[in-house]
Amino acid sequence: MTRRALFALLTTAAALYGDWLTFGGDPQRSGFQRRENYITQSNVSTLRLEWKMKLDNQPKELTSLTVPVIAATMTLPGGFKDYVVVAGSSDALFAIDPDTQKLYWSRKFEAEGAAKGRPDWLCPAGLNATPVIDKRNRTVYVITSDGKLRGVNLLNGEDRFPPTPFVPPFSKNWSLNLVDDVIYTTVSQGCNGAKSAVYAMDVKDPKRPVTSFLSTTTGGAGIWGRAGAAIGFNGRVYAETGDGPYDPPNGKYADTFLGLNARDLKLVDYYTPANRAWITRKDLDMGCISPVVFQFKGKEIVAGGGKEGVLYLLDGSALGGEDKRTPLYRSNLITNEQVDFAGRGFWGVMSTYEDSEGTRWLFAPAWGPPASSAPKFPITYGETPNGSIMAFKIEEVNGKIQPVAAWNSVNMSVPEPVIISNGMVFALSNGENISQVDNEGRLLTTKFRADNPAGNAVLYALDAKTGKVLYSSGKAIPGWTHFSGLAMANGRIYVVTHDSTIYAFSVPD
């Protein structure tokens, strides 16, 4: 079987059952739920909170529950069952039966050792990475705070293998990805002295060998897009790095898109914007967002951005051209005209799908209002001072692939990465206080930020073609959430909040 065929198989397997096995639903982080049979445009207005469950987890700073992952329609002796798996910052892991709202099982892992220094919201010293499910082998993989990979039986929570060192202990690591029996994650922020990197572990090999690519030999260049690394259809591993030293001959790749070989993580390509010096000087990290990968007109396209508020489209086979500084497409400034490093620009991960008419869409979580140089959105829904979902159609214009502005959503404070399904975009306004420093420049504490949220989390359903609001959860979710997202499978949409509560929304039978 060719690698391409294997990837096709892996991506369609998820589509068959409506699984949501990994952050964004697939290794490319598209956010596209291909098979949703219950929630449609005609009934989405009846969406309501079906249940909520407080889980036994203690938030670590701003970090709490991960985005859920879901093995849908598991064939078991008792019938078909969904397994909703969510991990918690206090090294907890839960498997929930969404039909009975009961736990199948839960685990509280004992982490080995302790973090040096006092935790803060940049370095919470807790479990942070969204787990990934290997449905074929009925295994859930999760990294505990001590940097060890745990593989547990999806059905009963028992260990599949002993805890295995994967990433530096008490590092801050991000959503796991799984392709071809290799688990991937990324590391950022220098927590507990860990250097920023992409890590991989071959879980099929009994020795579970670990490979890594350090994005810097010193510090910085953090890879903190919450979706972690995206894996292309070509098998390449893509990541975006944040601020720090830049000196490629000496292994320092700040504010850069990386393209790595699968498995051995050898650097094969990269792209650094020509104005990198400005990006770094102004603290406009590109590492705040994970890339998303899609195919368009025979090319593999890597889309991303960062705090600067610029959108990039890169050719997956030649990220930065010969000089490593030439993208396929770089937009004008779309947001963050204020050049604000704390809570402006594109964050999280963009999402994408191709609609039934063959139009390729890209949905970008924008924090803050559109810039005056932003393309004119033909459809808008009022001012968006706090943020919005910006929708673009990917088109070929005069032989060049580029995004064309389609609509800008209602105001959101601030938007998480979206899910797309059945011609709808599901978005979450997270309600978080995203201020990082006070007027004197002092870092705000977790307590201050947690006690003074911007509001409450609100789930929206939008028409994918127009951005029109089809549903809003209003005050149904009293809490807020940090660096999160959505999950969707078999008629339910899941939201988690900082107070360790998971919410399930569905339409009435």
């Binding site: 510090g219 944040g242 601020d243 720090g244 030293p245 020509a274 010096a277 770094t280 490093f341």
Partner: protein, 160 residues
Amino acid sequence: MLSAFLTSALLLAPAWQSALDARYPGWKLAPVAPQIAAWFKEYGLGWEPNLVRADFDRDGREDFALQIVAGGRQRVIAVMADGTLHELAADPADSFTFLMLHRRGEKDFDFERMKPFRYAADSLGLLYFSKTAVTYEWRARAKKFASRNTPGDEEAELSR
């Protein structure tokens, strides 16, 4: 990439031109990468990547800062209104290195001290593609520029 406006502006200042010619025979404005030129245009920054006009010493008169190539090096030269020259930097040529103007009163963030601040006078930034940025501020008492590294937050963190 030298605009006509920029060339004529320099030609109109014979005193400065001759001072530069005397000290840097055969000097030329440093070339600017097309991507940087395009980015400046997009942002409408109000100065050129290799030429900044400002009042660095707050004497009410316009000074210049230029990025030139002379003697095989890319140099940043401040040309004060009284005709004195100050060489601020000399590096290998790189068309991705550009100048930044920080206007008096402009707000910025000092990542070394983790504090916001405002510039007391027009100041000059030098942004390297592959090195930490440097800012040059006029010191009235010493009658010269003082430089300091102005890293982003991650680089500042590393130096702590």
